[in-house]
């Protein structure tokens, strides 16, 4: 009797555990029609109440959940709707149109005349003036946490003056990307922030209830949970059709999307892209962006300390020849193999190709006299599964050369290289605004990389040429010369660029012709005409 009872209990428990597991794994995407109560993995569908739902992730350390994300480092979708720039970029981020101002450039590309639009106001009703612009740029020059593209661009300014609604900006030398930068740099209200310390601007209480210039302003902030946005009544442009936006602080975009808390999600992580692609009620948009994945050789610092084993360029070349980029690129949802800082599809690509040839690599390594008994040390800092898989594959490729390879997950893949000199190669990622950003890492004056390339000045003049190149011909020439040099020096070697995906839920009706851009930047998305079911 007792045995029978025990069996019955065991059976009941097994059945209930199985039911729990099945329920947890259930609701697979694709099998259920969209819009039904169990509509694929995407249900419950986001919104449905005329409110656009967004999510800000705090898990990656890029945002905190106690204030509104600030716009001077990365721009997020929510901050783009609150803070405007002087100009508005298109989806390529390279063509601009007027936003807060119009801008004219002198023939010598040294003088920018910026004329502010009439009738501009901050959300608190104060006028938005040329003084705000001058103050914002001057403050960004003193700030610590500011996008390096702004810091580089503004370092070219020799004078900045305002006269009425006209601002005159004079540069020391031409800077080709200045207009693109002006289309990203958010203007902030001087009357609210002029007493804040530029070094710690991001922690100013202003960011809990910021005064904004865009079509929305903050309604409420609930620390750790969400903030809501309402239409800015002082916005002089077309009023948006969506009247309210909710932004939740979350640790994971996929869960937020599955729970219906995010109408807009972006990312390039394989797991995220696969999960969102599997949801019936989201549409994905692939965006080509300059997200470089690359290796960097730990050479020497300006202090003279060097990594002896990596000094021979033939060793560096042999190591790179042993890695099959094309196979590794397949690990990412959308990756294009690279041979230099210029994508292969760009007109400025110099045609060089890193060929995967294991036998040649072995021969080259043997000829270089490299000590094969010495372990090769790689450091990487991305701990997502795709990066870990990639590093494991790279270790495998290099072991085929007969090397002993050690790969270490590090806190920071850049400073660790020159802090310890224990690593030979670092694996890094860089979401670049333009190709210029890739090449500025070679500058001997670069605050970090001078410690890795030993402050080599070989690139300086060519990078200066690129920065100053305001026409296509000179830009192409500068890029080709830089590719030749980087392929000769082999200080850093790109593997591929990784595309990003933006996913928008079916609750959102996009106007015709919307083209998404790199989600870390701002561009014209015709948001005023977005609608939510």
């Amino acid at each position: 009797m007792k045995k029978k009872l025990l069996r019955t209990i065991a059976l009941a428990l097994s059945v209930s555990m199985l039911a729990v597991i099945l329920a947890a794994c259930g609701g697979g995407g694709g099998s259920t029609p969209t819009g039904s109560p169990a509509g694929g993995e995407g249900t419950p569908a986001a919104s449905g109440d005329g409110i656009l739902k967004l999510a800000v992730t705090t898990g990656d350390g890029s945002s905190t959940d106690d204030k509104i994300p600030t716009p001077w480092y990365n721009r997020t979708f929510a901050t783009n709707l609150m803070f405007r720039s002087l100009l508005l970029a298109d989806s390529t981020l390279t063509k601009t149109s007027p936003d807060l101002a119009t801008c004219e450039v002198s023939e010598d590309a040294l003088t920018y005349t910026i004329t502010m639009k009439d009738g501009l106001k901050w959300s608190d009703g104060e006028p938005l003036t040329a003084d705000d612009v001058v103050w914002s740029i001057e403050t960004a020059q003193k700030a610590a946490q500011v996008n390096p593209n702004y810091a580089t661009a503004f370092s070219y300014i020799s004078s900045l003056t305002a006269d009425g609604n006209v601002i005159t900006m004079v540069l020391n030398s031409p800077y080709s990307a200045m207009m693109d930068v002006l289309a990203q740099f958010a203007i902030l209200p001087k009357h609210c922030l002029e007493n804040a310390d530029p070094l710690t601007m991001e922690s100013d209480p202003f960011w809990t209830q910021p005064v904004t210039s865009g079509m929305y302003t903050v309604d409420t902030l609930n620390v750790g949970n969400y903030f809501t946005m309402k239409v800015n009544e002082n916005y002089e442009g077309t009023a948006p059709k969506i009247k309210s936006i909710q932004v939740s602080f979350v640790t994971d975009y996929v869960t937020a999307a599955k729970a219906g808390n995010a109408d807009y999600v972006y990312g390039n992580d394989t797991n995220l892209v696969d999960a969102l692609n599997g949801m019936d009620n989201y549409t994905g948009y692939q965006i080509d962006q300059l997200f470089y994945k690359y290796f960097i050789f730990n050479m020497k610092g300006v202090d003279g300390k060097e990594n002896e084993a990596m000094q021979n360029v033939e060793v560096r070349k042999a190591l790179m020849e042993a890695i099959d980029r094309a196979s590794l690129a397949a690990l990412y949802p959308s990756a294009s193999v690279l041979n230099g800082g210029v994508p292969n599809t760009d007109d400025a690509y110099n045609g060089f190709e890193w060929k995967f040839d294991l036998e040649q690599a072995k021969a080259d390594l043997a000829a270089s006299g490299y000590d094969m008994s010495r372990p090769l040390r790689i450091c990487y800092y991305n701990n997502d599964q795709t990066s870990v898989d990639l590093i494991n594959a790279v270790v495998y490729y290099l072991e085929q050369l007969g090397l002993t390879v050690e790969a270490t997950l590090s806190n920071d893949g850049t400073t660790d290289l020159f802090t310890t000199r224990e690593y030979d190669i670092g694996f890094k990622g860089k979401s670049a605004f333009s190709m210029n950003e890739w090449y500025t890492e070679y500058l001997s004056t670069d605050g970090l990389f001078c410690n890795i390339y030993g402050g080599d000045t070989a690139f300086d003049a060519l990078v200066a040429d690129l920065m100053a190149a305001t026409d296509t011909e000179s830009r192409t020439a500068a890029l080709k010369a830089l590719q030749d040099l980087e392929q000769e020096k082999v200080y850093k070697v790109p593997m591929f660029i990784v595309g990003t995906y933006v996913f928008v839920s079916d609750n959102v009706k996009l106007p015709d012709g919307v083209e998404f851009c790199n989600p870390f930047y701002s561009c014209d998305l015709n948001f005023a005409n977005w609608e939510v079911a």
Binding site: Q145, P148, T251
Partner: protein
């Protein structure tokens, strides 16, 4: 007794100082430069002068011991300092701690009621149906990691069934604060409770069984005292002393241990704050949150000592 309490209280001060010193030096001895997490490498590369000014303004160029005593001096004056991103830590704690106390408080309450309840019934009805179910659930509850339970609950009840929210503590559209709290707390509290019920259930069952097999219970029965009175008055009361000690020591582990659950549920408490601070090497926040957990542990330990001393005078004499 007063002398005993004072002695225990005074002993907590050097303990906290030692813990704070070890944690502070331990965090800084990792060799990780906090500025690398506050400012991204490309900013350091493009903007080294401003970043150096920031380092100076944060006092990171001073010797470690100077930094420690500056922080300690601030704490003694009620200033917990600032996180590396400039937010006052006291403000962060004031907002986050109540959320965590709410979460762990409910988990403690429910796990105590359910765990002790089932444990006692299991002991009284040893080898009965409830005992078997209880023992199996206790093993499962202890064996399955909490984060997995949390993810399963989210998948089933939040995503597939849509009954509960997946994240946060407050809904912007909430009309009723009680319903909103219930909806947001149900899954994380359930997750924490499941793990704790398992421990308490096993402990309560075993101590109750020990007590029920003791001589004074047999004596009580032989006196003809009704069975329910034997269980409640003689058995339950005596069995609860060690269970309460276990319960008391669960409080700090609940506060510290909610780190995983808060992360899984994006719950804005101390746990997720600590996780984010560790990720971003925000050592002032890690230090304060660690000290809060350590202080809670010391207070609970103190309360257990006092509790034991009240029940057993020998403890007071020994102490």
């Amino acid at each position: 007794m007063l002398k005993f309490i004072l002695k225990k209280l005074l002993f907590m001060i050097p303990m906290l100082l030692v813990i704070s010193f070890i944690v502070y030096m331990g965090l800084r001895a990792t060799g990780v430069d906090p500025i690398n997490f506050l400012v991204s490498p490309d900013v350091i590369a493009a903007n080294p002068e401003n970043v150096e000014a920031l380092r100076e303004s944060l006092g990171l160029n001073d010797p470690l011991i100077v930094q420690y005593f500056r922080w300690l001096g601030g704490c003694l004056q009620g200033d917990l300092g600032y996180s590396l991103d400039g937010t006052p830590i006291a403000q962060t704690i004031a907002i986050r701690l109540p959320y965590t106390l709410e979460l762990s408080g409910y988990a403690l309450l429910f796990s105590a009621i359910i765990g002790i309840g089932i444990g006692i019934v299991s002991a009284i009805r040893q080898n009965g149906v409830i005992d078997y179910i209880g023992r199996i659930l206790a093993v499962v509850g202890q064996a399955v990691p909490q984060f997995l339970v949390g993810i399963l609950l989210i998948l089933i009840f939040a995503i597939n069934l849509g009954w509960f929210p997946t994240a946060n503590r407050v809904d912007p559209n909430a009309t009723n604060a009680f319903v909103d709290a219930f909806m947001h707390l149900f899954l994380p509290v359930t997750t924490l409770t499941i793990g704790m019920v398992a421990v308490l259930m096993r402990y309560a069952r075993n101590t109750m069984l020990d007590v029920l097999n003791s001589d004074y219970i047999k004596t009580a029965r032989s006196k003809g005292i009704p069975e329910w009175k034997v269980y409640l008055k003689h058995g339950f009361r005596n069995a609860m002393k060690p269970v309460l000690v276990i319960l008391m020591f669960r409080i700090p582990t609940l506060i510290g241990g909610s780190v995983v659950i808060e992360t899984v549920f994006s719950y804005p408490g101390i746990g997720i704050t600590m996780t984010n601070a560790i990720t971003s090497s925000d050592y002032p926040v890690v230090l304060v949150t660690t000290l809060i957990i350590a202080a809670t542990m010391l207070i609970c330990s103190f309360m257990v000592d006092v509790f034991n001393a009240l029940l057993d005078p020998r403890v007071r004499l020994d102490g």
